[in-house]
């Protein structure tokens, strides 16, 4: 592994390796992807940890995200300030959680965040409506949407408080084995 890269110090890379599910090579690849998003903005030298943020507009234009109905939410959840503008750390975090190696609980936690549109720590009726609308591109009528939401609450709401808490969500995710493979963005 010729250590030709001078982007990160050895310690930085090590830290990234320990904090994400990526190998060094993948980290470098992700870095170059990140750098590619805004070449004039992102320096090629990260040894001094510059405080650079790539705006959401550029992030959302990545081919991995650009057609994802939840791209805005993903960016918001993972960005430091919730505005979708991402530092390299946020960027790596995002793909680490979305990687194949991330465990179910971690994925479920962030999925919950993504579906929790109003950030109130519960997926309520309104969040569900947003989700369904995004998923179906508004093809369902309002009545159908609300019926679907009621149905979902009916199925997944363990403590019957009319909204889904994180535990409800995790419990539900346990029963949907495909979640692990579908909550996954390849890079």
């Amino acid at each position: 592994m010729g250590n030709k890269q001078t982007v990160f110090t050895h310690e930085q890379l090590e830290a990234y390796q320990d904090c994400t599910f990526f190998t060094r090579k993948e980290i470098m690849r992700l870095f170059y992807r990140y750098q590619d998003l805004a070449p004039q903005l992102v320096p090629l030298d990260y040894t001094s940890s510059p405080d650079v943020k790539v705006p959401y507009e550029l992030i959302s234009r990545m081919p991995e995200l650009k057609d994802n109905p939840f791209r805005q939410r993903i960016a918001q959840v993972f960005s430091e300030d919730g505005d979708g503008h991402m530092t390299l750390d946020n960027f790596l975090d995002m793909f680490s959680v979305m990687s194949e190696m991330a465990p179910r609980d971690l994925k479920a936690y962030y999925a919950f965040k993504i579906y929790d549109f109003n950030n109130d720590d519960y997926i309520c009726m309104w969040d569900l409506e947003q989700t369904v609308t995004k998923l179906t591109r508004g093809e369902l009528s309002a009545e159908e949407v609300s019926l679907v939401c009621e149905k979902v609450l009916d199925e997944a709401d363990g403590d019957h408080d009319g909204r889904l808490s994180l535990e409800d969500f995790q419990n539900m995710i346990l029963r949907a084995p495909d979640f692990l493979s579908t909550f996954h963005i390849r890079i």
């Binding site: 995200l65 959840v77 430091e80 790596l92 029963r175």
Partner: protein
């Protein structure tokens, strides 16, 4: 806003005493906590009483904040922007705007997270409530408590004056007042203070050095945090007012439901400060509901200064302590699995490393050995990661798979993953056989005198017979290149290599099967067949624009179907209909089994007559007849089976797929079974010279013919189907990729390879090449001829099923076949490594005999005689395994019951909660009636929960978290 600015400003002031920060924070927190209750204070002249409850935790734990908070209420009341009235209309109004999500989450949450962007949120016009709330420091600063407010940080240093001057008269009374209603019952204030502080992660006096470590940047963030809390609290009202905007009660309920959480959290912390410990499970940080309730929102947004703070809290400390006790690998894993931002994780890692490096000097507990291991593991870490990178670079087709996933989703991707998995399997087998059998044989190879025509590629006979490809070519002698040099016993090498290969295959199959089962059948009996999985399992892999659109369309269709099913649930079938359906199933089964049996019989007779047929036809291509027929059957019959769906009606598509799979696998496995029977019972006993090579050739031909048919099918069949579907019969449309059939083809080929490895050691290599080509062919065909599947497939469950199929009939069948070959059959007399032996296994026997003459190898003999060759050992082993299985089964049963009980408990407690909330509402109504006040105030009262209300809520939550809090609570 200006207040905010000021707040930030003075916090940035480097001069003020460090530890006062925590005070400031505490106070701030309290205030935001208490704030909603302030109307209550004004309504009821009984000031201290109303305050008593919301404060109960805070006020007792630290007096000073309260003293500060008290004047604040007045101040805030005086200010024009009190949230009480303005809040509701504003929210409902903003709710009506369509881009609510965008503006809200973008503007406000964003804003509340950094200082720079912070002010944005205050410019937002429709947030007077939030503004009022967060601006509360403002009026305080400008009103008439100059010395306390202009420099609140001095609170710490001015503890005494404050208490004396401002609060002394008030405080005892308040304390008396709320003592009876105090649900936390915590007499020792100093402790309570610590514990109370802890959940807020805002740094506390117990960790002075942590405080010192805090830098300037972190210190100026506490206020935003508080406000963020306020904001998030406010925002929690939004959704409710969206739905129930016209019912103030709804808002009240919603707010209540959310609000007591922080109190509840506190009470938990107070009640059992350590009962809450991480106990070595770092994940509990986000599994625990209370944690999520409190720290969730801020944590998830990755607030760096916050990150700085949290690991100094007891939770952080405990986490670090639990991390310290782990091995470095586990620790890395645990850190990785934290749902925190990179910054926090990195800090955590740094902290742990620091602590770790401190430890040996301090405690000297680490033994020399452990240290040694530690350093070795550190030293090897780099090469190991390098190795994993190397392996990673071997992982093929990453890009292609990404494209496939992007266009067709996970389900089709699972086929390609399976293919790749099989390819890796074969590469491994090839490497093993190549290095241990083929290379040694090549060193002693004789010249091949047979002529090469080219047809051999199809038939596998002729020239290839005398190559390393087949069993017959291998020598039975000991390979020795120099006199006195190391020798290589070919017989043993052959049997051990094949054996090892199969054993490794067995284990890797077992492990991957176990992994899939663990991941995908965690709780099969409560599998939700409902709509939920459709909603929350959006396939994030799909990235192609058209595919996304198609998927969205399909999803809405599916949801609609699901809904219509729900609407007209359980349409009872009449007896007649059921009978028809049953008879259709029966007929389908009879026909399919009949066809399979007919195919088997045909193959058997064809194989039996094959030799005579070959006698009469001298053409070397004649040997291709049998594989051709078999491949034709494999191509045609599954399609015939698929056509059954026109007659049969299954309730769910999944049932249909499973039925199809079972029939197909039955067909394929029985054909292979018949062929094996023919090989082992007829070919092997016919007295042909070198029958092993003959079998090897047959298998080679079968495999190759299957490959050719697959190619033809992909290039011609699927292509023609697309042309027909696109241009001639438009109603057919584009076809969908039949995952089940394709996977079964792979399984069939793999079974052949496993059987054939013994007779033709190069077979894994051939399969490797075919799989490699197949990948590209299927990929091209997929891109050209297919459309994404319209149904949501349970891809992962299917994958589990596929591997199970690969394991159960296929691999176990192979093991049986090979066992019969090795233990029961006589190897041919004049070719192959086992020539001259009565059975294949005799090579092992004679080896053991040789070893027993050498004293240094007696342990091998002992192991063989007492373990491997001993019936008793296997009997006992089986018994033990059975007992363990039974125990585990019982444990599983117990867990199932436990899960059911817990589920019931959750439901019951949900009911409890609803009941209590109802009761509280009633009580509150009664109180209101008994305590008539002006309409406007009442309205406020409704909107902002009275202390009594909140207190009762606490009780409700106590019920939910029954840990230790209950004893002090009179109502519970």
């Amino acid at each position: 806003m200006s207040a905010y600015y000021r707040n930030n400003g003075y916090e940035e002031d480097p001069d003020y005493p460090e530890y006062s920060e925590s005070w400031n924070r505490t106070r701030g927190y309290l205030k935001t906590q208490d704030y909603p209750y302030s109307p209550g204070l004004l309504n009821n002249s009984d000031f201290s009483k109303t305050r008593s409850d919301p404060y109960s935790a805070g006020s007792r734990s630290s007096d000073y904040p309260r003293s500060l908070a008290e004047p604040d209420y007045i101040g805030s009341w005086r200010t024009p922007y009190h949230p009480g009235l303005s809040r509701e209309p504003d929210y409902s109004e903003s709710q009506q705007s369509p881009d609510f999500a965008g503006s809200r989450s973008n503007g406000n949450y964003a804003g509340s997270r950094t200082n720079a962007a912070y002010f944005d949120s205050f410019r937002e016009p429709d947030y007077p409530g939030a503004q009022g709330n967060s601006n509360r420091p403002g009026p305080r600063v400008s009103s008439n408590y100059p010395d306390s407010r202009t420099n609140p940080e001095c609170a710490g240093s001015r503890i005494i004056p404050y208490r004396d001057t401002l609060l002394e008269p008030d405080y005892p009374e308040a304390a008396n007042q709320f003592n009876p209603s105090n649900s936390f019952g915590k007499p020792d204030y100093p402790n309570a203070e610590d514990y109370w502080d802890s959940p807020n992660f805002w740094g506390e006096p117990d960790y002075p050095n942590a405080e010192n470590a805090r830098d300037h940047g972190s210190s100026n963030d506490h206020t935003p945090q508080m406000t963020r809390k306020v904001l998030s609290r406010m925002s929690s009202i939004q959704p409710s007012s969206h739905h129930e905007g016209d019912r103030p009660l709804g808002i009240l309920m919603r707010e209540n439901a959310y609000y007591p959480e922080s109190i509840e959290m506190r009470s938990m912390e107070m009640g059992s400060p350590y009962g809450h410990s991480m106990s070595g499970a770092p994940r509990s940080g986000y599994v625990n509901p209370a944690y999520v309730g409190e720290s969730g929102p801020s944590r998830a947004y990755g607030h760096p200064p916050y990150g700085d703070g949290w690991h100094k809290s007891p939770q952080g400390q405990k986490l670090i302590a639990s991390l310290m006790s782990m091995t470095s690998r586990d620790r890395m894993k645990a850190i990785r699995n934290q749902p925190r931002s990179m910054e926090e994780k990195r800090n955590l890692r740094k902290m742990v490393d620091k602590e770790k490096s401190k430890q040996p000097h301090g405690t000297l507990e680490l033994s020399c050995c452990a240290q040694c291991l530690n350093s070795i593991s550190l030293a090897y870490r780099r090469p190991r990661s390098g190795l994993s990178e190397l392996l990673d670079s071997v992982s093929l087709w990453q890009k292609t798979l990404k494209v496939i996933g992007g266009k067709f989703g996970t389900s089709v991707l699972s086929y390609f993953n399976f293919l790749r998995w099989l390819l890796k399997f074969n590469i491994f087998s090839f490497i093993v056989t190549f290095s241990f059998i083929i290379i040694p044989q090549l060193t002693v190879a004789e010249r091949n005198t047979l002529r090469f025509t080219g047809l051999e590629f199809l038939t596998g006979a002729g020239y290839f017979t005398d190559t390393v490809m087949y069993y017959g070519f291998y020598t039975n002698s000991t390979i020795r290149h120099r006199i006195g040099g190391t020798s290589y016993h070919m017989q043993l090498a052959y049997i051990f290599t094949i054996g090892t290969c199969l054993v490794i295959c067995l284990f890797s199959l077992l492990f991957s099967m176990a992994r899939y089962f663990r991941n995908n059948f965690i709780n099969p009996h409560i599998y939700s067949r409902g709509i939920t999985k459709l909603i929350f399992c959006w396939d994030f892999t799909v990235t192609h624009e058209r595919a996304v659109k198609l998927k969205q369309k399909n999803l809405s269709t599916e949801i609609r179907e699901n809904l219509s099913e729900i609407r007209q649930e359980n349409v009872k079938l009449t007896l007649n209909q059921r009978l028809t359906r049953l008879s259709a199933h029966l007929a389908a089964w009879v026909v399919s089994t009949g066809v399979a049996v007919a195919c088997c019989v045909a193959v058997y007779y064809l194989a039996g007559n094959n030799s005579e047929f070959l006698e009469s036809h001298r053409n070397p291509g004649a040997v291709l007849l049998l594989p051709f027929v078999v491949s034709c059957i494999n191509l045609a019959v599954p399609r015939f089976y698929s056509a059954f769906r026109l007659v049969e009606r299954y309730e769910t598509p999944r049932q249909e797929v499973y039925m199809l799979l079972i029939r197909n696998i039955f067909l394929k496995i029985s054909i292979i079974g018949i062929l094996c029977y023919y090989w082992l019972n007829i070919v092997a006993l016919a007295g042909e010279s070198c029958w092993e090579t003959l079998i090897g050739q047959e298998i080679y031909r079968l495999l190759l013919m299957d490959f050719v048919f697959s190619l033809a099918d992909s290039f011609l069949g699927e292509f023609l189907r697309r042309i027909i579907g696109m241009h001639f019969i438009k109603s057919l449309g584009l076809q969908e990729f039949d995952i089940a059939r394709n996977v079964l083809e792979l399984i069939y080929a793999q079974t052949l390879v496993w059987i054939g490895t013994f007779f033709c050691p190069l077979l894994p290599f051939i399969q490797m090449i075919t799989l490699f080509i197949m990948f590209y062919v299927k990929n091209i065909s997929l891109m050209m001829n297919f459309q994404p599947p319209s149904k949501a497939w349970r891809a992962s469950q299917m994958m589990t099923f596929f591997i199970l199929l690969l394991f159960f009939p296929s691999f176990t069948g192979v093991l049986c076949t090979l066992a019969i070959t090795i233990w029961r059959l006589k190897p041919s007399a004049d070719c192959g490594p086992f020539r001259g032996l009565p059975f294949f296994i005799h090579s092992i026997y004679s080896w053991i005999d040789t070893l027993s003459t050498r004293p240094s190898y007696l342990w091998v003999v002992w192991i063989y005689q007492n373990l491997i060759g001993s019936v008793h050992f296997f009997f006992i082993l089986t018994l033990i395994v059975l007992i363990i299985t039974y125990l585990y089964w019982q444990i599983t049963e117990g867990r199932k019951i436990m899960i059911r009980l817990l589920h019931e408990q959750i439901i019951n407690e949900g009911k409890d909660k609803m009941f209590l909330i109802e009761k509280l509402t009633k009580l509150q109504d009664a109180e209101k009636r008994a305590n008539p006040s002006s309409y406007a105030l009442e309205r406020r009262d409704v909107e902002q929960p009275s202390p009594f209300h909140a207190w009762g809520h606490d009780a409700a939550h106590d019920l939910r978290f029954r840990q230790s809090v209950q004893e002090g609570n009179p109502q519970a």
